[in-house]
Symmetry: C2
Subunit: 141 residues, 2 copies
Amino acid sequence: MTTAHERYERFCADIKAVGLRMTEQRKVILRVLAEATDHPDANALFQRAYAKDGSVSLATVYRTLRLLEDKGAIQRHAFDDGRARFENTDTDHHDHLIDLDTNAVIEFRSEKIEKLQAEIAAELGYEIVRHKLELYGRKRK
Amino acid sequence: MTTAHERYERFCADIKAVGLRMTEQRKVILRVLAEATDHPDANALFQRAYAKDGSVSLATVYRTLRLLEDKGAIQRHAFDDGRARFENTDTDHHDHLIDLDTNAVIEFRSEKIEKLQAEIAAELGYEIVRHKLELYGRKRK
DNA sequence: AATGCAATTGCGAATGATTTGCAAGAAAAG
DNA sequence: CTTTTCTTGCAAATCATTCGCAATTGCATT
């Protein structure tokens, strides 16, 4: 299990690795991202960062998000509600089950499904670069 | 196999079923939708409808789209490129493979994957209402 | 510690997709 | 043909996200 602090260090390393500067704003945003265990959207991240440091702007949150996404440090998801949501990529790959009543996001992973996907793509003459599997459902009672 | 004309008739029935009016514009838009075999976005649908009848506006295309989506007659997809794309729901359920180079959308269906998904959701205590499986890949050479 | 300069910021304006308010136009019912 | 109510097109309004730009700030070098 990776800790929030380890994630933060890794983000910093990613930034410096390409000669980018470590600004106050970036530090705050990276920390917020590293601490997130949910799937926040850009505005939620901005709120959290702004609470820690009022000098952070929404534009910079978006810029930092894009930066990290390009480096593969975080992942962007476009669930059915329109706006983009983000999560760390240091954890193992997994898919999502979205609770239609609460909007909660549950992570899961199935080796079998991963394998089947690759097989299907191969049959169609394709190689999978990435995939998105989202189950939308309700709790059974 | 459902024909475009049958689909059109069904759309009309859906509209009239709730006491809505059958206007010229709606007729044109329904026809365009019924004839679509691809996954057009709102603007593409507007272009096609406008070509048939210059009195159709983009706003009405959006309004009609939402109408049909609410009735479950068409389905909205949010692929990773941001804008919404639509398709008829009269065909059997299927998933999508998106060609990253050409943006082409290939449909497929796997019984095994469907079954696995249901199993996974059940394990987590959920019942699937709908799901979305998108493979993003490149042609193998 | 002071200097220089390119990277970075916040702001507000721009964007692109989609929605909405409203007055004018057209169905359906009488 | 009239009335009532639904629909429309247009333009303005949203929403999420991006961009231009002048001001600021890291950071490598003195």
